[in-house]
């Protein structure tokens, strides 16, 4: 019974990792840059939702939708202002830039009086409820995380395979130059991808918020999403989901069966092993670079 219990909690934690990793992978596929501030975007999304609920007194769902929309707009803006000017520079530059942006977001959020320095509980309608199935006790928050992740994945799948925008995004991520020649506005799409990825991050934040708490350092969970993205293969969307689930479950199991301390580093051990054994990740595919 404990096993099932831990498994469910691991899967739902894994869904959060998966959503953040999804954000990394979206951006990586589109612009070949890695956004180290993805966790901070998630934190900002959660705070936006919290502010809308507590200051504007909106109901949870309305606040959530507004927060996601606001974060999407923020993502587009961020791409335009900070990322686009330095595209074409070595990858490391953008890594530094996004680390800096993450620092700024955390610093700014801490400086907001009253809100920034404290830990908040987000009052979602389903917070604190549990279902008991026999001996199994499942908290509704975890179920919501899993369900929303599944729905979101389905929506993204439909978007990428059926809608014009999604297909254009696929095209531009496969070959930017060719996409550009076919009349696809690659730069505008890159902006949209940043918006999409910020929105996904905001959803992750809003899902995590009722389950744990809203605080400035909640974005540090993003550091565990890197292993998820690497395990799945950095350029693969299904890989990000799978990687997130794998990391989440392994972490939960390490907490159950291994001595104390292994839970916190399980994700990193897995990613190091993965990089040694199969650097391209599970879904990365293998190809050789031609000179």
């Amino acid at each position: 019974m404990t096993f099932l219990q831990v498994l469910i909690s691991g899967v739902s934690q894994g869904c959060i990792y998966a959503l953040i990793a999804l954000g990394f992978v979206l951006i990586y596929k589109a612009t070949e840059t890695v956004n180290f501030a993805q966790g901070e975007l998630m934190m900002l999304g959660a705070f936006a939702g919290l502010a809308l609920m507590e200051v504007a007194q909106l109901p949870f769902l309305v606040a959530a939708v507004l927060a996601i929309a606001a974060m999407a707009a923020f993502g587009v803006l961020l791409e335009r202002v900070a990322i686009r000017p330095i595209l074409g520079q070595p990858q490391f530059t953008i890594v530094m830039l996004t680390i800096g942006l993450g620092y700024m977001a955390r610093g700014l959020m801490t400086m907001v009086p009253v809100y920034g320095s404290e830990t908040h509980a987000m009052q979602a309608p389903y917070k604190g409820q549990v279902w008991s199935l026999g001996q199994l006790v499942i908290s509704v928050e975890q179920v919501v995380v899993i369900v929303v992740t599944v729905v979101l994945c389905a929506l993204l799948y439909l978007m990428f395979n059926k809608s014009r925008v999604g297909i254009a995004m696929q095209a531009s991520s496969q070959n930017q130059l060719a996409a550009y020649y076919m009349g696809i506005p690659v730069q505008r799409l890159n902006g949209l991808v940043w918006g999409l990825s910020a929105a996904v991050a905001a959803i992750a934040g809003l899902l995590l918020a009722p389950w744990t708490f809203v605080h400035v350092n909640m974005g540090l969970i993003g550091l565990k999403a890197f292993p998820a993205a690497v395990v799945g293969g950095f350029g693969s969307l299904p890989g990000a989901i799978a990687g997130g689930l794998i990391i989440g479950v392994i972490e939960a199991m390490a907490g159950l069966y291994m001595p104390e301390g292994f839970k916190d580093i399980a994700a990193y051990v897995v990613v190091l092993l993965m990089l040694v054994i199969k650097p391209n990740g599970l879904f990365g595919g293998s190809a050789r670079k031609k000179v």
Binding site: P85, V95, G100, V291
Partner: protein, 358 residues
């Protein structure tokens, strides 16, 4: 404007290029030597910190600046050096032996980290080193009978050949000596074949490989040298702090080291020193400026993080060569006085070095 008339090939690799350099660096050495008599205890401590961070910065510079391998987990090497040194001292080893063993152990850990680095590059390497950093931090916290765990470990005083260097001045001179040795070491490394191989690898792996440079061997070597220097800095750092605990060698410290090399100027030895000065001076400047800011901003706890982030973003966007790059521009302006043109250092649009396979 100075023109150096070259009459000999040796002039190209000479450490001191002309008389002006000799004069200024000699002046710097004299200033550093007399500093303990001029400045107070507090500033002497800050100077020692700058020297220690410069050593660590030189270590990371060899890796990130000259070999082009970004490491997000360099604080781990700092920690390995610090803990090894302190543990060996507590076993009764002599100071110099303990310090060189600390550097050696850090180097061998660096080789281990370098092993996956041969297969992965770019962003994967950053993630691998970051993961490694987290693991090492956890090991420091859990391996209690060596490291003292989260409770920390106090550091014995410095005793070198029977002399007690525990005083501020003594320790300052120790740091200065180590720093000078390391700087000369790095400068000589960079003008040797090995250093040139590093730079070749940074600029293009494929070209380097086709010139007969063994990528795997040199990358591992870069990791080893970089880790050894950082470990050496770690040993001194432990003495300076007098008390070490795992959280001093965490992800934040790694980012600070990276901030150091990027702000100072990637790919320049001067950059390590400028970056170290920045890293030590910044908290002081913030503390001073707090008195002039309205309390709502000045007293907020996030101010330092915000400023670090803003500096990092500003440097990346507007001055990719860091503080040393800015100095080069200022110097060119002064040397050419009325003839400096705006486009002289214009950033060349590098085409993205794609790691994609098609």
């Amino acid at each position: 404007m100075r023109f150096i008339f070259k009459t000999h090939y040796d002039q190209d690799i000479r450490l001191v290029k002309h008389g002006g350099q000799a004069f200024w660096y000699a002046l710097l050495v004299v200033v550093m030597l007399v500093a303990p008599w001029v400045v107070g205890d507090y500033w002497l401590t800050q100077l020692s910190f700058i020297l220690i961070y410069s050593i660590a910065g030189l270590g990371l510079m060899v890796l990130a600046g000259f070999t082009g391998l970004a490491s997000l987990g360099h604080a781990a090497f700092l920690g390995v050096g610090a803990y090894t040194h302190v543990y060996l001292l507590s076993l009764g080893w002599p100071f110099l032996l303990a310090m060189s063993s600390a550097a050696a152990l850090a180097a061998s850990v660096g080789v281990i980290v370098g092993l996956p680095a041969m297969r992965v590059k770019g962003i994967y390497l950053a993630i691998a080193t970051q993961a490694f950093g987290f693991i090492v931090e956890e090991v420091f916290a859990r391996w209690e009978h060596v490291t003292g765990g989260n409770a920390g470990k106090s550091v014995p005083g410095v005793v070198l050949f029977g002399f007690d260097l525990g005083s501020g001045e003594g320790f300052y001179y120790l740091c200065l000596a180590v720093c000078v040795v390391v700087t000369f070491g790095v400068l000589n490394l960079l003008r040797s074949g090995t250093g040139r191989a590093f730079i070749a690898i940074r600029d293009s792996e494929i070209s380097a490989q086709s010139m007969g440079i063994s990528i795997a061997q040199y990358k591992t070597l870069a990791f080893a040298i970089s880790a050894a220097l950082t470990g050496l800095a770690g040993a001194l750092y432990a003495h300076k702090l007098r008390f070490i605990s795992p959280d001093q060698f965490g992800a934040l410290q790694s980012i600070e080291l990276l901030l150091l090399v990027v702000v100072g100027g990637l790919g320049s030895v001067h950059g390590a020193f400028l970056g170290a000065i920045f890293l030590i001076a910044m908290p002081q400047a913030i503390a001073v400026s707090k008195d002039f800011l309205p309390p709502a901003i000045g007293q907020a706890s996030g101010l330092q993080g915000l400023i670090y982030g803003a500096v990092l973003v500003g440097i990346v966007l507007f001055e990719p060569m860091g503080m040393y790059g800015r100095w080069l521009k200022v110097r060119a302006y002064l040397q050419l006085f009325p003839f400096y043109r705006r486009g002289m250092f214009k950033r060349q649009k590098a085409f993205t070095k794609s790691e994609r396979l098609r």
